[in-house]
Symmetry: C2
Subunit: 299 residues, 2 copies
């Protein structure tokens, strides 16, 4: 691999390799005085890195055009139900990295909160509020295992329960599809919003999640195929937790027994987010249960 | 500007700033053994630089999503008559840089060829072949100045004329629009293909070009507005020259008296590509003329 950069944080100084050494500076300096300072910082770094990349690999016009076509294709496939630009970022680890950066900045106030994970492209803003303890599985498939998931929403500092916290939960069915991808599922199947009482407890019946491939028919799939990678994600449940006076959390919890924990196609797994499904006795609605507490850092 | 990189070719070693130092390595190593070696080289560099960028500026989820939306929008606006992904690259200098890289690689065989410039998004593959000396302006606007452009296609090494060379020419009208953007222009207006005879001479009547803005209604326009930049390109004529046994050339020639030579919105101007329109005597078809020889390097 002919690269002057290394991924471990050390970085050989790239030269401009005989290419015009003033070019990148000229592009950056074309930004006018009314440019927002943060945007200037972000674009200065982005333009520098993209130009350094092109010089480093002696990027050809044909290779660049292939990249432009891939990106245009991503936009053309994106709809209100699908975000292929986001998925392209996901398969090169960018959403997980940005999540790590955002989480680390949040954690500087205290390292006790539940860790975050990427939002992914299947969140919806209109989850119906359900009664605590209700089920979110309305089209339970024959190969599905129902599980009782419960725990508490806690103040990460005091460990006190948080009342009126909102928990959004969403997951795919065993066919690998979220309800908005699948005409066989009723609307809002495997989704719901739950609001805690004074005890901070939450609970619902859900499906034990199963691994599934990210959509493979667009540019992200093409990139995965070209780089000899599989599209699978390990079994996971998405959670978003909001409470007044606390930093919100977007995360995913992963079945510790799932395949693909080591090679998630979007690089989202963290050890602190592993959950363990155990047999549940005396409940005709579920043969499995899993316990997971969620801790929020005060603002 | 808080950037650890500089545009002049020196580059402070970026650290991973406390973020997971193994993350980028893991993403790169996810590429399987069947990955094409060149693709692996290109993606290793691209992923490293994009991750370094995100860490360097502490890119937030909101900023990343804004970028995804800009890129998806580019794809959604792109059609067979418009390539907004390409234009986004152009306004951050990437097409010009890739052109420089490709030109430099070609020039290693000899530094005598006519310099190249970017193709731009308005080339068509179906230019009609015209008789040498014919006009390409069929809807000459009231404010248009017709010019006689001529010169020779030469072997860059021997200086001998090249016969059977093909010259594609295309330019915008004085309203800033190419014919495929403008229902008021006949098809193939201000375009043509000319084939040289044994003397290597080429000639045609064209419009003296005028500055125009790149399309301003999409994501490239949004980026220009956000960075307090104008969208104008200096007056130019596009040329593509092909001949058997020679390296092809894609270039643009720029009116030396044009505005925006110093601040072309797509960074394509080179000194060697300046042309000077002069008064033409005794030709009722044109009051101006310009001479420019085109030199090709043998394969």
């Amino acid at each position: 691999m002919a690269s002057t950069s290394q991924a471990n944080g050390t970085h050989a100084a790239p030269s401009t390799k005989g290419y015009d050494p003033t070019f990148t500076k000229r592009v950056i300096e074309s930004m006018g005085p009314k440019t927002d300072p943060r945007l200037r910082t972000v674009l200065t770094s982005l333009i520098t890195h993209i130009h350094d990349f092109a010089r480093e690999v002696d990027l050809t016009v044909d290779e660049w055009i292939a990249g432009v076509e891939l990106v245009n294709w991503a936009g053309q496939m994106s709809t209100d139900r699908r975000n292929e630009g986001q998925l392209l970022c996901d398969v090169i680890g960018l959403e997980s990295l940005v999540d790590e950066i955002t989480y680390k900045k949040a954690a500087e106030a205290g390292n006790l909160a539940t860790q975050s994970a990427i939002l992914g492209p299947f969140f919806r803003h209109d989850h119906p509020t359900r009664e605590m303890g209700e089920s979110i599985t309305f089209n339970t498939p024959a190969d599905g295992e129902v599980a009782y998931m419960h725990g508490r929403v806690l103040d990460a500092v005091t460990k006190d329960p948080i009342a009126n916290a909102t928990i959004d939960v969403w997951e795919a069915s065993t066919n690998g599809l979220y309800e908005q991808q699948d005409e066989e599922q009723v609307e809002h199947n495997l989704r719901g919003k739950f609001i805690t009482g004074n005890d901070g407890e939450y609970s619902y019946y859900c499906l034990r999640p199963t691994p599934y491939p990210v959509p493979f028919d667009g540019p992200a799939g093409k990139l995965l195929k070209l780089t000899d990678r599989h599209p699978y994600r390990p079994a996971h449940i998405h959670l978003m937790v909001l409470a007044d006076g606390y930093k919100p959390i977007t995360t995913q919890v992963f079945d510790v027994k799932s395949k693909y924990l080591e090679d998630d196609s979007v690089f989202a797994v963290k050890d602190a987010l592993l959950i363990d499904f155990k047999p549940r006795e005396g409940d005709e609605k579920a043969k499995l249960e899993v316990h997971y507490d969620l801790a929020l850092v005060p603002l």
